[in-house]
Structures are given as C-alpha cells and as structure tokens.
C-alpha cells in the first residue's frame, strides 16, 4: 500500500466535530483516508509531511468556476484551471457550462471529465446547461446530461428568462435528484448594465442595474421551486434583499440554497471609481449594506457556502474600457487567503464556519463526494498555515489569467498543501509565501 502521512497537524473538520492534534494516513492506491489518530507509525515507504502548527482540513470544494474549455482557452483550460485549484487549496471544483459550444449534451460532459482526469490535479465535476445552447428557449437533455455525470444544471452567465422553462427544468431535475442552479438576473431590468446602480454609478455616468433585478428572479425561482417541490441553488448572491428572500424561503421549508463569493464579502462598488475593469463582474460589486447582509447570511446559514465564481479573462480583454471589458475576476488562488485575513483573523467569521462553508456545505448543496475527513472517506485534504504573512503576486498564479483585484494585498494565512485522493500538491503558501 502506497501511503501519505500528514503528521502532527491540527485536524479540523466541523462536520465530524473533529478538532485535535493528530496524524492522517491516506491510502494513495485507494485514494481514501486509511486512519486518523495520534502517533500513527509511518508505513514503509510512506510519504511523510510534517504538519506541525498547520490546520489539516477536509479538501476544499469550489462549486463555481469557469475553466473556459472548450471555446475560450486563451483565458483558461481545464488543465490550467485545475492546477490553479490545487495551488489555491481546492481539491474539487465544479465547472460552469457557458463554454463554446455550451455543455448541453452528454458528450460535452464526458469531455470535461476526460480533460479533468488527464490534468490529474483537482477533481473536476461539470454542470450541464438548463436549456439547449444556453439560449433559454427549450430544455436541454437533462436526463442524458445527468447520466453523463452533470452534477447540476445552470445557464450561468444568464438567467432563464422564461418562467415556464424554469418550472419545467425544476420539475424535471427533481425527478433526477439534481439541483437547478441559477444566475439570478432580470435581464430586461438590468438592460445591459455593467455595474451596480447607486451613488457610484450615478457619479461615474455608468449604466447601473439595481439589486431588484437579482431579487426578482430569486423570488420567482423560490416560488417555482416550491411549486415543483424541487431543489434550487442561488449562484453568487450579492444583494441584501436577496439574502432576506432566501432566509425567508428556508424558514418556510422551500428547498433553496445559496452561495456567496469572497469579493461580494470584501469589496463594494466604491472600487469602481477609477474605472479599472478588474472590479467589473456580474453580479456587480454592491454597497456596504449588501456586503454586511451577505456576511450575516453566511453566518446564520441563510447562505450555505462559499464559491469563487472564478472567471478568467485575458489581460488584453481586461485592459479595455470599463464598458467594453468582460465581466469577471479569478478567485481560485486567493479565495482562502483573503477570507482568512480579512474575515477570520478579524473575528467577523469563525474559523469553523469558514471551513464548513468550503467543505461539508458545498458538498451537501450539490451532493458531491468529499467535504469531510473520515476513515474510508475520500483522501482529499487542504492544509492551511493560518499565520503565515505573505503578499499576493498574481504573476505567480497557475491560472492562465491575471484578472485579480487582490493582487498586491498583504495577507495573513495561506493554503500550503492540497491532497487529492492521496496525491500531494504544493499550494500557494509553499510556492509564493
């Protein structure tokens, strides 16, 4: 048996009420955890990593990433994206289907798995489209997509404009035991706007769109999910009113879940003064009260989990005028560290909730394997150094793109190792800090 032994770390898994100094032995052949305990003797030939002073967590999952393959491989590929994932401390990622062509058929889903396995880094699970061609007109072959391994369905990048199609998708997906995931935006109301509507957009003369455009679609989908008795997940929630809608729906027993991205917990539309497209994304950066509401939602469980919405774009594209540059920022290699430094160390977010929101919570939202540390469970581990001080240098990212608003930030805390099925990868804390 080929093994990996993580020695003397603080083994930390809130979902299993685990918080103790111990060793974790992983069977590399089976890809599973062989044992967790004190003083495990290294088997012959074992790869041993000293984790003294480090936090040993279940492998982190990022359930919202764009790897741009096929179609936009100048921005990212499954190989570079999954390398960035393990470099950033993520053992599992879920890719979005807004590729070209979009992932709306079984073969395209099989291709994602194939490329993910070839890359041999993070586990790559694709979502399939809700509608054919992501056009919002007709249902995609949800059954065949599901059979091919699509873990959920979304037309991410856009909402499904038709309430009828959305209802059909929810009913159909429910029978498959799968979740419908929505980018919630009323496109008629947002009307091509490129930032949050408020004081800043008014001052800059930029066409903004109000939080109501997000809230309207969330409210619609909550009602449809209730009608269909289906599971509905809100992608990248960003507005105060949206959090309230999800909270209320959960209290009423609707099967709704939600994710929030680190940038919506840390940045506001004030960043857009100066017209730098590195602050342009959709949903847009909103106001301080929205940031506060998102954090509150994450703390009280209204928002289930964290997810990056890792959205790579080339430097050329992000050097265009603010109005012309594409939406999105990358997050895989900064997700963990920015939140550790700005929310966990500042006592705004308990470490327990932080780890849970990257592990057991996202696994539960999409029924993914992993997210916990247990004998016989997946040998996926994320090892953090909570106190290491370092400075983000996007030039050293493994992602193909550099559109990161956190470049140059001085942070405390960093991932140092990522283990995927027993395979050990050095994370950014080893290569950069």
């Amino acid at each position: 048996m080929s093994t990996l032994l993580l020695k003397n770390g603080r083994v930390f898994d809130p979902s299993r009420k685990l918080d103790k100094t111990a060793d974790v032995l992983i069977d590399k052949t089976a890809g599973t955890v062989a044992s967790i305990g004190k003083g495990i003797k290294a088997p012959k030939g074992a790869e041993v990593v000293d984790c003294k002073g480090l936090l040993v967590c279940p492998g982190f999952l990022d359930i919202h990433v764009h790897f741009r393959e096929p179609g936009f491989t100048a921005k990212e590929t499954i190989a570079t994206g999954s390398a960035a994932a393990v470099h950033g401390g993520f053992s599992t990622v879920v890719t979005m289907p807004n590729t070209d062509p979009p992932l709306d058929n079984g073969a395209s889903i099989a291709y994602q798995y194939l490329r993910g396995e070839e890359a041999g880094k993070a586990r790559v699970f694709p979502m399939g489209c809700i509608s054919k061609g992501r056009a919002g007109q007709e249902l995609a072959s949800l059954g065949l997509l599901s059979k091919a391994g699509a873990v959920a369905f979304t037309d991410d990048g856009a909402a499904v404009p038709s309430s009828f199609i959305m209802r059909m998708a929810l009913e159909y997906a429910a029978s498959l035991g799968k979740v419908i995931v929505e980018h919630c935006e009323d496109h008629d109301l947002s009307n091509g706007a490129i930032m949050h509507e408020g004081k800043v957009s008014a001052a800059l003369g930029i066409n903004g769109y109000p939080s109501a455009a997000e809230e309207i679609v969330i409210a619609r989908d909550i009602r449809l999910a209730k009608l269909a008795n289906a599971r509905f997940h809100v992608s990248h929630i960003s507005a105060k009113g949206s959090v309230a809608l999800v909270r209320e729906a959960k209290q009423k027993g609707v099967r709704v879940t939600a994710e929030v991205s680190p940038h919506h917990l840390l940045l506001t539309d004030e960043c857009c003064r100066g017209f730098d497209p590195v602050y342009k994304m959709n949903p847009p950066l909103r106001e301080a009260s929205d940031v506060d509401a998102c954090l509150e939602g994450l703390l009280d469980g209204s928002i289930d989990c964290l997810a990056s919405d890792h959205a790579p774009h080339t430097t050329e594209e992000k050097s265009l005028e603010f109005t012309e540059a594409p939406n999105g920022i990358i997050g895989l290699e900064t997700n963990i560290a920015v939140l550790l430094a700005k929310l966990v160390h500042t006592k705004k977010l308990p470490l327990k909730r932080f780890v849970e929101a990257w592990t057991s919570a996202p696994a539960r939202v999409l029924d993914l394997p992993g997210g916990y540390l247990e004998e016989g469970g997946p040998g996926d581990v994320t090892v953090l150094d909570l106190d290491r001080e370092w400075t983000v240098d996007s030039a050293k990212f493994l992602s193909k793109s550099r559109n990161c608003p956190f470049h140059g930030w001085k942070l405390r805390g960093v991932p140092v190792y990522t283990v995927v099925g027993g395979k050990l990868f050095e994370a950014i804390g080893k290569t950069m800090a």
Binding site: K199, L204, I206, G274, F275, E321, F322, T323
Partner: protein, 316 residues
C-alpha cells in the same frame, strides 16, 4: 498657486483653488482672441492630438483652434465605434500615436473612464473632452467661467466665488456629462446647484452622488434660479425610453417666454449645445436677451487654451 497636474480628467478631482487658477488663466488668454494676430508662442514645438471617438463639431474645433492659438502643432484623429468593433484597442491606438512624438491627447469617447485609461497607459497629458455620460470638464469650466464673468465674481475667494448664486441644470441629467462636471465645479465654488427635469432623467441618486439638490418641479426651479443651464435630450443614448415623449417634455419642462416670466429678471440662460430648438428651449429664448449661449462658445476658446497651457506645461 503652482499648477502641477498634467491631466484634466474630471472636475471631481480638482480643488476650488485649481478651478479658479484655470479660470484666471483663461481670463488672461481671452484677450488674445480679440487681437488681430490671435496667437501666442506658449506651446510652440509641442504636439496636441485630438482623439475623437464620438462625433463633435464645436468641441473638436474649439480644442484644435485653442491649441493653434498657443502655437502648438495639432493632429486630429476621428473614429467611431468602440475599440472592440475596430479590432484595435484604445491603448494600442494611443500608443501608436504617442510614438510619433506627441505631448497631449484631447480625447472624446463614448466609454466613461476612457481618458483615465489613457492616462494610466501613456506618458502624454490627457485632457478629457467628454467621456460617455461621465464628465466634460472643459464644458463645465467654460460654463463656470461664463457665470463668474457675468456676475462679476472674479475677485472672490475660490470657495466663495459663486456664493449666493443658484444654478439650475435642466434636462437629461442622467445621460449628461455636462451636468456632472458643472455640478462638481459649481458646488466647489460655493454655488447652490439644482438638477431639474423628469424623475426618470433626474434620478435622486445623482443628486446624492454629486452632493447637490434635485427637483422635478419646474415652477420651483424658475423662482429660485439665477442661471438656467438647459441640456438637450440625448436620444443617441436611448434617452427616449426614459420619458413619454418630446411633446410632453416641451410642455412640462421646456423653457419658453411665458414660463420665464416667473423667473428672476436678471436670470440668465445657458446651453452647451447643440440646441434642440422647440424642445428644451424655444428659439426666442435661445436668441433672446437673457441668453449667454454665444459667450459660452467664445469663452470655451479661452478656457481650453488655459487647460492646454497649464497641463501640457506641467508635463515636462
């Protein structure tokens, strides 16, 4: 004061003292335009390039003539459409022209922040000649120059230069870079500013963003104002979707002689042009005794000479 800025990107970033510095410099240049030989050697050997990505007649000509009166060499580059549709990025276009040995760009562009982008990526002085719906600082300055001159406030301290005056800006404020620049500049010099028009074209957030009043009541505005700055509806920015129609607009918000009877006798009327006669203002008013519209155009020359002189001079 010593002028240190090499760019003029917006009026939001300028102090009252800096605005007054430009106005005072403009006052001294105004005299040049009245000479038979309308030229001074201030920018001899310097190169000023007009980069116009949106159509313009008065602003581009005013800048070109201003640069020539300062003895600068000028070059004009006109293009329509975004960099994406052209296939070359704005930065590439600008860097290519910069490589020809250029000192300043005067840029007009449909994208808010395009001048700021140029300023980040080139070594030239960048003068904003209008960026989308964001700002049009030289228009703001020439409007303020005209008001300051008309009300004889040249000797006042910067922060109090326009104190006691109420300036109303009427019309399509939402889409107006002129309104934004005027509001910032006027407020800094102590004027009271009212943005007025239909609620969909004058959203409350703009008043909050710029720190000025908003009103949707034309009778109130008529009573209060010393200056009416009328703006046209920017149909090219799809403003037509924001209100019921031109006839209704003219009837409810347009300035006409009957309505102006309620205004203060000494109140003046301004317009940055182009005028849609019969919509925001009647021809009789535009050409009438209260109108200072052609003074604005004349003062625009002096203000642009001042801006070029100060910014290009600071870029050594």
């Amino acid at each position: 004061m010593a002028w240190t800025r090499k760019h003029l990107l917006d009026l939001e970033e300028l102090s009252a003292a800096e605005i007054v510095e430009i106005l005072d410099t403009a006052a001294s240049f105004k005299e040049v335009s009245g000479r038979s030989v309308k030229k001074v050697p201030a920018l001899r050997g310097r190169v000023v390039v007009n980069l116009f990505f949106e159509s313009s007649t008065r602003t581009s000509n005013s800048f070109a003539l201003s640069a020539q009166r300062l003895s600068a060499d000028t070059l004009s580059f006109t293009s329509s459409g975004s960099s994406v549709s052209k296939g070359e990025t704005l930065i590439d276009t600008a860097k290519n022209i910069e490589a020809m040995g250029v000192d300043a760009f005067v840029i007009r562009h449909s994208a808010p922040g395009a001048p700021h982008l140029l300023a980040r990526h080139t070594g030239c002085s960048v003068i904003n000649a209008g960026d989308g719906c964001h700002e049009h600082p030289t228009q703001g300055l020439l409007d303020i120059f005209t008001i300051r001159e008309h009300f004889k406030r040249e000797k006042s301290e910067p922060e109090k230069a326009l104190k006691g005056l109420t300036v109303s800006i009427l019309g399509d404020i939402r889409h107006s870079r002129v309104a934004r620049s005027n509001a910032h500049g006027l407020r800094k010099l102590g004027a009271r500013v009212i943005l007025a028009g239909p609620p969909t074209l004058v959203p409350a957030a703009i008043g909050q963003a710029l720190g000025v009043e908003v009103s949707h009541d034309i009778d109130y505005v008529l009573k209060e104002s010393d200056v009416f700055n009328c703006l046209r509806i920017q149909f090219e920015r799809k403003a037509g979707r924001f209100f019921p129609g031109v006839r209704e607009y003219a009837a409810i918000y347009g300035l006409n002689e009957e309505r102006m009877k309620k205004a203060k006798p000494e109140a003046i009327i301004m317009h940055p042009g182009p005028i849609n006669r019969g919509i925001e203002i009647t021809p009789e008013l535009a050409d009438g005794t209260r109108s200072v519209i052609l003074h604005q155009v004349e003062n625009g020359m002096a203000v642009r000479m001042a801006v070029l002189y100060l910014c290009v001079g600071a870029n050594n």
